[in-house]
């Protein structure tokens, strides 16, 4: 028979855990809304930039992207893994880490053997994980303290400089794409060299007779770094929104579990209490019978 006091203690501890998880859920919900707002605000810039690039490159060949679109023999690969700084968000972080490991083993086994895998992490969870197995190119956990374009852009600038200097021959981005509060998909995309279809654009681009100042080539050269910065910023924002979405879902589940647990505990508490009362009555009855007899 469960001890009354023990059960009571467990009920208190479970219900305080429930309070914490439901509070965390609320916090995540409001942070999620803010993260989504940031994505919304970034969108006009990103789409306009893409439109201009497509407009320009419809008439240019793909070699015009400066050094950023040239494919080289892949000896050194840089993985940019975007995670969160905090845990308690379900499989959010481990999914991105798992995908990175899969990519390394399937797509770049030879580079792994020759030590050509480099990792750049954004977020403490990925940093903690990858510093055990690889030497990190750098880690940027501080971007989440003040998440805006100006804090993310320098990372992209650094990656572009390293790529241009030949330190890496390919850069892959691994992050969680935000679909909605309940669904996040881990994806990887090639960051550098710039894929030709993003540069070459589609032929649907409107043919407006623009004046180009200074000239098309220079404008494209100027815009590609901008669009890369935006691509990284978008990935970080997406990952940030996904993190809060994932945390919200997992905290919701934790709260539900606590509720179930409390129900079961209450039942066994009441049973134990009832048994104790029955016992007492039996004893009194027995004592009275003994006196009468």
């Amino acid at each position: 028979m469960a001890n009354l006091k023990e059960v009571r203690n467990r009920i208190t501890s479970v219900s305080s855990t429930q309070q914490i998880t439901s509070a965390m859920k609320m916090v995540s919900a409001s942070k999620l809304r803010r993260a989504q707002d940031a994505i919304q605000r970034m969108r006009p810039y990103a789409s306009k930039l893409k439109e201009i690039l497509q407009n320009l490159s419809a008439s240019l060949d793909s070699s015009s992207g400066g050094g950023f679109s040239k494919e080289r023999e892949v000896k050194n690969v840089l993985f940019v893994v975007i995670n969160s700084n905090r845990g308690l968000c379900g499989a959010f972080n481990s999914n991105a880490i798992k995908l990175t490991n899969n990519l390394i083993n399937e797509k770049y086994p030879s580079q792994k053997a020759t030590g050509g895998i480099h990792i750049l992490t954004i977020g403490k969870k990925a940093t903690d994980y990858f510093k055990k197995t690889y030497t990190l190119a750098s880690s940027h956990n501080e971007v989440y303290d003040n998440l805006k374009f100006d804090t993310v852009a320098p990372i992209a600038v650094q990656i572009m400089a390293d790529f241009a200097a030949g330190k890496y021959d390919r850069v892959e981005l691994v992050y969680s794409q935000f679909k909605n509060a309940a669904v996040q998909t881990v994806t990887s995309e090639q960051f550098l060299p710039v894929k030709s279809e993003t540069v070459a654009g589609n032929l649907k681009a409107k043919s407006v007779d623009y004046i180009f100042e200074p000239n098309k080539e220079d404008i494209v050269k100027d815009l590609i770094p901008k669009s890369l910065k935006i691509q990284l910023y978008k990935a970080v924002l997406d990952s940030n929104a996904s993190e809060h979405g994932a945390r919200m879902t997992s905290m919701h589940k934790a709260t539900d579990n606590a509720k179930e647990l409390l129900k079961a505990l209450k039942l066994s508490y009441n049973k134990a209490r009832q048994a104790a009362i029955t016992n007492e009555i039996l004893e009194i009855g027995g004592g009275a019978a003994a006196l009468e007899g």
Binding site: A38, A46, K48, Y210, E213, D222, K226, I230
Partner: protein, 80 residues
């Protein structure tokens, strides 16, 4: 003409203007009403705007690009 100044973080300006002065990569230039379509890159400097009430406003930018078409100007800027 209609002007929009957009940064990755927010929309800084939106409204009707009479004159826009821009720090183009090859030199400062102005856009007045009914300018021909243009795409130009911008360098570090100040954007000067005169709106329909003749009030001037300044925006500092680090770099950017401007697109003008049908009297609609969009400036994509990275601010400091």
């Amino acid at each position: 003409m209609q002007l929009e100044i957009v940064t990755p973080d927010e929309k800084v300006f939106e409204g009707e203007v009479k004159l826009v002065q821009l720090p183009g990569t090859t030199g400062s230039f102005e856009i007045l009403n009914n300018h021909a379509p243009i795409i130009s890159t911008l360098k570090n400097g100040k954007i000067k705007i005169t709106d329909s009430a003749n009030a001037t406003q300044y925006f500092e930018i680090k770099s950017g690009v401007v697109e003008l078409q049908n009297n609609k100007i969009i400036i994509l800027a990275e601010t400091k």
